[in-house]
């Protein structure tokens, strides 16, 4: 059974329709890569999954359970939204670490406020996650003392600390200097090896080919092509061909 089912998702801002009916499913442990040129609606899609935007139409199911249904007139309360969004994690393009807390506290803050365990368990878990992203030696550092790549790895550990079923990445390396993207991609790769279910928006085509179990190409609010990693080498859709050609 699919861990994630998205059906007929629509979202507009005022009169501009940004998502015009998005459908896809994702199996547990799979990695979905979303490709598409800027302005196509990729960020909006991830933001809808994380309830930062509320879609006007569509259904979202996680593990077979409906967590969002725009047709169901019962409006979600803030606490239901808070509970539901914990199915997902989101890693932002611009990291958004909390500047006033050190690395360890950035990772433990949410689990302790949400009472996800004893202080000791939470700290221990955070330390494990930081070692997983290669930052054990930076626990006491503040975000301003870290490189972009290190900050993004902390952000990944912070998202993992809440144990999301599905972890979303919105262009995780776009804000990084080229020499720093590798370390972040390596961490994401290692998550795949530990069977994390992920949705990744990226412009790193080689990486996408390498990591994707499934690829969707989103343009102008619709999915124009979907398939496995081979669509990158043999695209059918004209726009996808043009899109891919712009990288070579």
């Amino acid at each position: 059974m699919a861990i994630l089912e998205v059906c007929g998702l629509k979202k507009s801002f005022g009169k501009t329709a940004v998502l015009k009916g998005i459908n896809f499913t994702l199996e547990k442990g799979e990695v979905l890569v979303i490709l598409g040129s800027s302005g196509g609606g990729k960020t909006t899609l991830l933001r809808c999954l994380n309830f930062l935007e509320i879609p006007e139409e569509g259904v979202i199911k996680v593990g077979g359970k409906v967590i969002f249904d725009a047709g169901n007139s019962a409006v979600l309360s803030e606490s239901e939204i808070r509970k539901n969004r914990l199915n997902f994690g989101l890693v932002f393009q611009s990291f958004n670490l909390f500047p006033q807390y050190n690395v360890l506290k950035n990772v433990t803050l949410a689990p302790s406020l949400l009472k996800k365990g004893t202080d000791q368990e939470i700290t221990q878990n955070a330390k494990q996650l930081l070692s997983k992203v290669g930052l054990s030696n930076k626990e006491e550092s503040y975000p301003c003392e870290l490189s972009g790549g290190q900050q993004q790895r902390v952000a990944i550990a912070r998202a993992l600390a809440l144990n999301p079923a599905i972890l979303c990445f919105d262009e995780p390396t776009s804000a990084l200097d080229p020499e720093l993207t590798g370390e972040v991609l390596k961490v994401i790769k290692s998550l795949k090896n530990s069977d994390m279910t992920m949705i990744i928006v990226t412009h790193e085509i080689e990486f996408a080919k390498n990591i994707a179990d499934k690829i969707i190409f989103v343009d102008n609010g619709v999915i124009l092509e979907e398939g496995d990693a081979t669509v990158i080498d043999a695209p059918k859709n004209e726009r996808l061909k043009n899109f891919l050609a712009s990288f070579s």
Binding site: E78, S79, N96, F98, A110, L114, Y142, A159, L162
Partner: protein
């Protein structure tokens, strides 16, 4: 010179009395304007266009006109125009009128600083808190508040140092603060008259008090310098 040393104890004790009144006005203004500014800033950031528009207009008027005129209006308007001298004729009434004028004026300045502080926190901070399942309350107190405080400390310091010197404007309604006390030795007070140096000497009080506050604010800024925003 020997005159100076004879005069000094008398002048010094009179200036201290005036300075006490200055300090009182300073403290009461802060106590009133810091929270009132918060309310004004909520008004000016309100989603209700009428409320935010009205609040911003009031703030614009208060910030755009001299505090001295505001003081005079608040003090003289009830008595001279409405023929209802609510402030009475004593020092307590003058103090109350001065305190109200200062609190309103400074609340407007503070509200703009607060608004700047709130709006300076990147939207991503709020969103990072949201996707981590935090409530709005938790996000405010655990994520954004300290960032706002760090952002508002330098402009608040400037305003508060300005307030130290602005208290002297209340001389215009004859509040018996430091300038008034210094000036009184020109006309005659406590058996001394025709003296100008006591008025000049008041400058030392303002300088010393500003220096003390500056040191305090520098310390606060340093305490918050362990992180960058």
């Amino acid at each position: 010179m020997s005159d100076f040393f004879e005069q000094f104890p008398t002048v010094f004790s009179a200036l201290n009395v005036g300075f006490l009144q200055t300090l009182k006005l300073f403290a009461v203004t802060l106590l009133g304007a810091i929270p009132l500014g918060l309310i004004v800033s909520f008004g000016s950031m309100s989603r209700f266009k009428i409320l935010s528009g009205a609040t911003r207009t009031v703030v614009w008027i208060i910030r755009g006109s001299p505090l001295m005129i505001q003081l005079m209006i608040i003090y003289y308007f009830p008595g001279l125009i409405l023929h209802n001298p609510i402030w009475g004729s004593g020092e307590d009434g003058r103090f109350l009128a001065a305190a109200i004028a200062f609190i309103i004026n400074y609340a407007c300045y503070f509200s703009e600083i607060y608004r700047g502080g709130v709006q300076s926190v990147p939207r991503g901070q709020n969103e990072a808190g949201l996707v981590l399942g935090l409530s709005k309350r938790q996000i405010f107190f655990k994520v954004t508040l300290l960032q706002m405080i760090k952002r508002i400390v330098p402009p608040m310091s400037n305003e508060i140092i300005t307030l130290v010197k602005d208290t002297s404007l209340s001389r215009i309604i004859a509040l018996q603060e430091l300038i008034w006390a210094g000036e009184s030795f020109m006309k005659g007070s406590r058996g001394l008259s025709g003296l100008i140096w006591p008025l000049f000497f008041t400058g030392i009080y303002y300088l010393a008090f500003s220096a003390l506050l500056t040191a305090l604010f520098n310390y606060t800024e340093k305490k918050l310098s362990y992180f960058k925003i």
